[in-house]
Symmetry: C2
Subunit: 80 residues, 2 copies
C-alpha cells in the first residue's frame, strides 16, 4: 500500500475566479498582504502495489484533472 | 514575497462522498488497485513580507477551511 497525492491546479494562463474572489475578500477583511490566491484540488489516494506510476499518471490525466484548463502533479508520499 | 500552500482536507472521521464516487468510478474503469480516495482543496497564496505565520494560520482557519469538517495545513514553500 502506498499513499499518493495528486495536486490539480488551474493552468497559470487560465483565470481563476474563485481565487480572485478569495483575494478580494481577504483584502476587505484586513489581510491586504495576500496578493494572489489560486484554488485547486488535492486528492489523497491509497493504492496497492499493483498500481505503477504509469497507471497513476493515466488516472490523474484522464479522470482527476481537466487537462484543457488544469495542470496536475502526482506525488508518492510513502511506502509501507 | 513568499509562496504559501494551504491544504484543506475532510477530517478523517467525516464521510467524503466525492472521494467515494471517484473510487467507485475508478473500479468500474479498470483501476481496482485504488482502494481509497479523499478529495480536498489546495490553495496557493502569494504573500508579502508583512504576513507572519500567525496571520496565515488565522486566514486558513477562519476563511479557507471549515473547521467543523475539515483539517488544514499551512506550508511555506519558498522565500524569494
Amino acid at each position: 500500500m502506498a499513499r499518493v497525492v495528486v495536486q490539480v491546479m488551474p493552468k497559470s494562463e487560465i483565470l481563476d475566479p474563485q481565487g480572485q474572489a478569495i483575494v478580494g475578500a481577504l483584502g476587505r477583511l484586513g489581510h491586504p498582504g495576500i496578493t494572489s490566491v489560486r484554488q485547486g484540488k488535492r486528492f489523497e489516494l491509497e493504492v496497492d502495489d499493483t498500481v505503477d506510476d504509469d497507471e497513476l499518471q493515466q488516472i490523474a490525466e484522464s479522470l482527476l484533472a481537466n487537462t484543457v484548463i488544469e495542470d496536475w502533479v502526482v506525488v508518492r508520499e510513502d511506502q509501507s
